[in-house]
Point group: C2
Chain length 200, copies 2
Amino acid sequence: MARTTGSHSDITGPRVRAAALKLFARDGFAAVSMRQIAREVGVQAGALYNYTPDKQTLLFDLMRTHMEELLEALPAPADASVMDRLEEFVRFHIAFHHERPDAVFIAYMELRSLEPENFARIEALRRRYETALEDILAAGAAQDVFVVADTKITTLAVIAMLTGVTTWFRAGGRLSLGAVQDQYWDMVRRMVTRPPGGTV
Amino acid sequence: MARTTGSHSDITGPRVRAAALKLFARDGFAAVSMRQIAREVGVQAGALYNYTPDKQTLLFDLMRTHMEELLEALPAPADASVMDRLEEFVRFHIAFHHERPDAVFIAYMELRSLEPENFARIEALRRRYETALEDILAAGAAQDVFVVADTKITTLAVIAMLTGVTTWFRAGGRLSLGAVQDQYWDMVRRMVTRPPGGTV
DNA sequence: GTCTATATTCTGATAGAC
DNA sequence: GTCTATCAGAATATAGAC
């Protein structure tokens, strides 16, 4: 119970964010109190305010950091074929989201907990990510490599499908990450292409 | 402000559930207070407890009702072809969920707000629904009509993809409900089949 | 069946000692 | 930088009048 004195700013800051990430993901932003976060970190509630001006900003910073890391890690448009670029996107999305289940969960479950200004900023980052996929689909459609009736709808459909993986996939289960990536790539590929010789 | 006396049990009960459904969907279970629900209905907070023993039960009843209605409306296994049964499922899912965006949203956003026993009961209903789709896919795979590497994964992928529609589709927008159903059915069909003559 | 009033607990956030 | 103590308000739920 002690821990009465000492400087821990370099350590405590990340621990506050880690605790908030874990608890927000498990119970939801509104259901988690600052005291719960403090207890998880091992400090008193008042000490949290050395690391965030308020609870809302704590949530926003978690979401913004996640989206920025996602965009930074996203493979840049290469001069590879559209088929290879799509495959790369699918595998990237599954792998990246698998490594950060809590952040992913928060990023699209807690959008409604954001105040309007913060919501707009996160939404803008999310759209940039969607656009990366939409660009690939549009390029493939233009080249007649993909059969896509509506690139916007297909973008949303593919992302919804891929993000759903995080709700059930756990390492060490029946399937390896690679096997899951293989299967989803197979489904996405068939979804947007028509094999040579097809009659429909 | 009056409304001081009178019997309204037949009217007020449904209005309490409607208000809770709306507010839970918009702000989340934990973020909505009983006072807010009461204000929406036009009664005092204490009066709500004539219609629900507590807030948790109110949420549970909303979710259970939704899942039961979903299962009841689900087309029964017919002796139609597996292809027709799959198409029927896809169109049904989109149409049914489109009619009840609030209930759908709550049903899979607020699972974590349920106490363990209630969670188990809702989860059981959800699994029955998934099984209906999985049965169709398994039957189609057995008949070599569908190409499905893993029926469980494909089931989850299709449901995630279809449910995602509710996050963006609004009647009166760019696309009609029928057009959306057509496009999703096209994507799902390609996802699980290989056209005759395909070489891969 | 709804009201008013209230018990009890918890909330986010701040002040000041160390 | 963390603690203790506290403020002001809101939370769920209940009791009893009408």
